[in-house]
């Protein structure tokens, strides 16, 4: 059992990395990957929201959606967005310091495609509660990894002599392509299990 959970985590983290393999969560990937520090915070906020999402998705899938499958999309969005909002207010009240570090990113990522995509993927795979949690943590760590790698590369790219035409988004996409190419190497990990 724990072995299975571990492989779900690893597979979501590197082999089927959300950003580099499924192209989910590209907006923050492009937007906040300019500096390593912000990238780490964004990643932490992502792990947090994904964990909440996995609990929500499991609850909805088990207790509500069997009776009304056509409501899946709408209920995912509404429940996830409102729960994150509530948690955000709670954090603001309890720990203003943590809120300052994570808070500004929370509303940004609630309706991010990575979050909804995660809920849908986890549903399609038929994951249970624990499997869903480990999938969430793996996906979150994977997003963080991609963000931090991207931010470190961009920090060095800033200092190097890049042709003027390529500056900006074009360069970021080509770097992302190389990263994605590198992550394809991890695909071999899973066939051995």
């Amino acid at each position: 059992m724990s072995g299975e959970l571990f492989w779900i985590l690893i597979s979501a983290m590197v082999v089927n990395n959300f950003t580099l393999f499924y192209f989910l969560g590209l907006c923050p990937f492009m937007g906040v990957s300019a500096r390593v520090e912000t990238a780490i915070r964004m990643g932490a906020a992502n792990i947090f929201v994904l964990t909440i999402t996995s609990i929500c998705a499991w609850f909805l899938n088990t207790y509500i959606l069997p009776y009304a499958p056509y409501l899946r999309l709408i209920s995912f969005i509404v429940v996830i967005a409102s729960l994150v909002q509530i948690v955000e207010m709670t954090i603001k009240k309890i720990s203003p310091k943590l809120f300052r570090q994570l808070g500004i990113y929370l509303p940004l990522i609630t309706t991010n495609c990575a979050i909804l995509g995660f809920a849908i993927f986890a549903t399609n795979k038929g994951y249970g509660f624990l499997q869903g949690l480990s999938y969430a943590v793996g996906a979150g760590l994977g997003l963080t990894l991609a963000l931090v790698l991207m931010a470190s590369i961009r920090e060095s790219a800033e200092l190097s002599d890049v042709a003027d035409v390529a500056k900006g988004t074009a360069l970021v996409f080509i770097i992302a392509g190389c990263l994605s190419l590198a992550f394809m190497g991890f695909a071999g990990l899973l066939s051995t299990t």
């Binding site: 999309l73 969005i77 495609c113 995509g117 988004t169 074009a170 190389c178």
Partner: protein, 218 residues
């Protein structure tokens, strides 16, 4: 908001303010499902349908939507149309629905659609909003087809499933895999940047920045 003519509303989104290539909105589907032309077209059409439907509904009911909850209302309207699109595709073309998978559902979080509602349909008359949605939707389809064509031709040697180069062509497989998506959009943006700069720079003589010039002189 500056005044625009109906023609501008329509034409603007197609190329000049193309949602994908200029505004960088809706990137997830533009990269994820463009590995064949057929998938790109299906995704483009589904997004077009959702965008038009939600623009129509939002601009019709804009007087009744309270300002404080407008974003949630837009998302609910969009999610309704996406559910319709999802179920219709599943019933009419099950193969395409299977190939696109979860990305149909993810049209909900396509920032392009929400962006058009917030920026345009919530303030403008119904017909103008429809024109704007048509323009933006066509712009999105064009961008999807550009990506899809490049990736299918290079990565599979075919267009819409027809083989182009005969059996001896060795496909450049990387272009139908995820990294190819990043490379394709990267190089398309590179090309567009280059064309843009050529247009702008023609009359100007390129000058050395200060410091470099004096170094050269020395």
């Amino acid at each position: 908001m500056r005044a625009t003519t109906p023609r501008q509303d329509f034409v603007r989104g197609i190329w000049q303010e193309n949602p994908v290539l200029v505004h960088m909105l809706g990137l997830c589907p533009a990269l994820a499902v463009t590995n064949t032309v057929a998938n790109s077209l299906a995704m483009g059409l589904a997004t077009f349908f959702v965008l038009t439907g939600s623009s129509l509904l939002v601009s019709t009911f804009k007087r009744f939507i309270p300002h404080e909850v407008r974003i949630s209302t837009y998302i609910l309207i969009i999610a309704t149309f996406v559910t319709i699109a999802d179920m219709s595709l599943e019933a009419i073309v099950p193969d395409v629905h299977k190939a696109l998978g979860a990305f149909i559902a993810l049209i909900v979080v396509n920032c392009m659609i929400l962006g058009r509602q917030e920026a345009f349909s919530s303030k403008r008359p119904v017909l103008r909003s429809l024109l704007d949605a048509f323009g933006t939707g066509i712009g999105f389809i064009i961008a999807m087809l550009m990506m899809g064509t490049v990736r299918e031709v290079l990565g599979n040697g075919s267009f819409l499933g027809w083989s182009l180069f005969g059996p001896n062509y060795e496909p450049w497989v990387i272009f139908v895999l995820p990294p190819g998506g990043f490379f394709t959009i990267g190089f398309i943006l590179l090309g567009l940047n280059w064309v843009e700069r050529r247009k702008k720079q023609k009359p100007m003589v390129r000058e050395w920045p200060e410091g470099v010039a004096s170094e050269k002189a020395a």
